[in-house]
Amino acid sequence: MINVCEYIDDFYVDQGLDVVEINVNEIWGVLGAITQQFPSPLGIAEASPFKKVAAFTTYFTAQRPIITNLPEPRFGLLASHQNAIVAFSLCVDSLHGALIKCPKRGDIILKNRIQISQHFWKDLMVMLSNSLPSQHFNCVSLIYEALTYQANPDASYDRVI
């Protein structure tokens, strides 16, 4: 909870905003949903980091806890997509350096940070803004996984199909 609020706070401070309005109850709802209603039968303890960040992203964009828009001169039409933008940013940061514990391959550290083009980012923010855990959890998880393996090709399973 505090981690998330601190992240949002400094993200907005860096964008030059003095005040960001956050619905704290919705953030509690996101964190509670991740633990109590994790959208995979694996549960949060056994899920891969990609499923964890997908759960966070989809619950966050569904609950929309950040009320204040980002600066329109910089973000244009995406200024009102602040929940997707912050959620994706936080998840990319948390995947950087994450550890995959694979029974067959051992521990794998995701050394490289996800990087995408501006064009991809814009379309992805539009998509994530309309995502729901019940419908888009698996799709979002696969996007995170694909982007992570693109940046960390050695971490990927063998591509055999």
């Binding site: 909870m1 505090i2 981690n3 998330v4 609020c5 601190e6 992240y7 949002i8 706070d9 400094d10 993200f11 907005y12 401070v13 860096d14 964008q15 905003l17 003095d18 005040v19 960001v20 309005e21 956050i22 619905n23 704290v24 509690w28 964190l31 509670g32 991740i34 633990t35 949060i44 303890a45 056994e46 899920a47 891969s48 980091p49 499923k51 964890k52 960040v53 966070f56 001169p73 910089r74 973000f75 244009g76 039409l77 995406l78 933008i85 940013s89 936080l90 990319v92 940061d93 948390s94 995947l95 950087h96 350096g97 994450a98 550890l99 995959i100 514990k101 501006q118 980012w121 814009k122």
Partner: protein, 71 residues
């Protein structure tokens, strides 16, 4: 019990959940472990402390600013 202790939380510069109390220290019970956000268990995400998460947020925000210019 880890993750259950109340923590002192000073409201942040830009974080105003309740109008008029910006800057006032409050105490929030923490029933959800912090590791929910950055769990280091199986398939773990990176565990970070308060200073690092602020640094990450600023770096990501700056990265977006540089990349976007204007969308």
């Amino acid at each position: 019990m880890p993750g259950q202790r109340p923590v002192k939380f000073k409201l942040l510069r830009a974080f105003v959940p309740v109008p008029g109390v910006k800057g006032e220290p409050i105490e929030i019970a923490r029933p959800v472990p912090a590791a929910v956000c950055f769990p280091n268990a199986k398939g773990g995400l990176r565990m970070v402390d308060s200073d690092e998460i602020r640094k990450l947020a600023r770096e990501s925000s700056q990265r977006l600013t540089l990349a976007l210019g204007k969308v």
